[in-house]
Symmetry: C2
Subunit: 428 residues, 2 copies
Amino acid sequence: MSGLHDFAERGGLGAVMNALGAQARAAAAAVREASAETRTAALRAIAVRLREAAPAILAANADDVRDGRAAGLSEAFVDRLALDAKRVEAIAAAVEETGEIPDPVGAVMASWTRPNGLRFSRVRTPIGVIGVIFESRPNVAADAGALALRAGNAVILRGGSDSTRSVREIGRALQLGLKDAGLPVEAIQIVPTADRDAVGHMLAGLAGAIDVIVPRGGKSLVARVQDEARVPVFAHLEGLCHVYVHAGADPAKAVAIALNGKMRRVSVCGATETLLIDRAVAKTLLPPIADALRAAGCELRGDEEARSITPMTPATEEDWRTEYLAPILSIRVVGGIDDAIAHIARYGTSHTEAIVTEDAAAADAFTNRVDSAIVLVNASTQFADGGEFGFGGEIGIATGRLHARGPVGAEQLTTFKYVVRGEGQIRP
Amino acid sequence: MSGLHDFAERGGLGAVMNALGAQARAAAAAVREASAETRTAALRAIAVRLREAAPAILAANADDVRDGRAAGLSEAFVDRLALDAKRVEAIAAAVEETGEIPDPVGAVMASWTRPNGLRFSRVRTPIGVIGVIFESRPNVAADAGALALRAGNAVILRGGSDSTRSVREIGRALQLGLKDAGLPVEAIQIVPTADRDAVGHMLAGLAGAIDVIVPRGGKSLVARVQDEARVPVFAHLEGLCHVYVHAGADPAKAVAIALNGKMRRVSVCGATETLLIDRAVAKTLLPPIADALRAAGCELRGDEEARSITPMTPATEEDWRTEYLAPILSIRVVGGIDDAIAHIARYGTSHTEAIVTEDAAAADAFTNRVDSAIVLVNASTQFADGGEFGFGGEIGIATGRLHARGPVGAEQLTTFKYVVRGEGQIRP
């Protein structure tokens, strides 16, 4: 690995990065052609190697944390960065669980026969090479690496500068596990340099080696990736999620869903940021909802009508556009489902929206017309998560419109090809 | 429409193009929320209006052809540009057939229930706004417009400068049909200016209004689009398709498939460009294949071994990389399936490859390991076509890896969302 640091000799950072890409591309073919059992064995072996490496990982992490504190990182930042024995065990366990996800490669998605006798199948195949650019949390290296491998891909991982040593140790364990199973170690590569320009090279696609980029981190990272990437990206910039309490809502469900949606965890992308409530039920339903939220420590900001029902800070236009990622909820009283849908279309980020109603027609109208990745009826927006969907894990949530939308699990890290079987047919 | 030409007043080309985009985005919501019956009615009405407009379309086309000839266009180019009564009828008939494709919007792609009782569905929804940039053939305006509409999208069409008047008349008929069915006319818009910079604006995405771009035309157009587009693209740059005659090939099938693959139509992307043949059968099978191709007027270029079996011009490295789009076939003798797969991986464009063999294990190995959009066993590469797949039509063929791969029909012009139904579940 040390030779890769010899930039001057080897033609600079671009050459080093493109070499990573070429190695990944070559390894991707081997991973794709390996059996499902081999990929599963590799994931199990990786979990074993991670547990073995726990002392080394923790020692490296202690260095990262010490240096991070010295550099003035906030405690919140350090908490995202820090590992302990329990967290390392959780990382290994997560890789093990990923090994239990059914292998998606080779699955027949659809099949049909044409009048001329040709038999068509659409068959799952890995996307190829995934590029993951992440910040802070060292576990992403293992989580994302494992999920990419489960779907038959090779992966190039680039972590934040604050967790370089932690990620390097995790990367060693990942590669030992690959080797144990007879897969090329270049199937999972950690970018070996802290040079900030390495990210720019990845965004350019490493001379055609990267098929898709997944950013995991704060808004400025995601925005940079979406802006500069010359290859497809699976990402969401913001999760400005709504709960719409319709006139036909069950009162208890409305309270529970609003409270859980906002307060279960305020900093996840599936946290509810705005509550919309039908005028017809606002006087009766808003007070108990507001009481429950206030009791849980949530600050409420409302339009004039909401404020006339129960006291709260005034909400501005800016509030409708704000993903707080904090215990703050904006509240608007609306004149019915058309208003609610229009508000969501105008201010939402196509992430996750929920309607609370017992009225089947209203539920159908909402789910048909709301154009977000996830639309729920009578359930919390906090279910926006690959594990909750039954995917066994996710590499992130996407709000783009193509290929992957919503939680990106192993299946979404595949593409497909057509296999056509004939008996000698030629086309007239 | 004339006001849109007033660039100086309206803030320039960028403002005009972004306005087109905003109109398309607004119309897309209406098209998406309309019923399948309404979209079908619109397609039928468009076919009626196209037939009505035949005299006007032909008159406009005559002007385009006259000016094209005067400008020195080749006869081949003029032939792509020219319409007659039969071709106009074919355009209308194709739109009618598109109306008979089952509407994909709202189809449930998958559904499942979680232990907590939440019921999940993955539901088809239109992509949104499609941008089509095409050259020469005026029919693309109607074909692509109709297919986009069938899948619930709005579409912005930009044709070549040589067919401006033909495309404008076709566009009028498309919009009249939309109006007849009660859909907004901005669901299908023709870019109203011949300004070459309009394409650049589309490639930038029209301020977020375009979700995907489909280029239809020559290699330099496709390359420009793939290079410059800041939004996803469904395209193929080249179709360098292979036929591999395996040692277990049926001789008659090998001849028929090689001949049809090359010579049915030499300028389509699914035309065979290179023949690979196992050494074990080259002496017996290559002569009849070569004879059939030569009799059909095909020039053969082969490696040393091929030439030692039957006379032909020498093939160079360049020939393996060349999509001839002409009656020329390069031929290479290989040492078995691994060699064939390696050659395809090295020189192919991930478009379409065929193996001719009666050996089931070889067929399976080929279809598993070859990483192209379409892989056939015992059938001609010329089947690389949406109609032949049963899609009812295609907007193009894609060789990228994400979202759409192979023929892009109505279903591929959709994306999906998740609908999650509960009874008040909150997440622990």
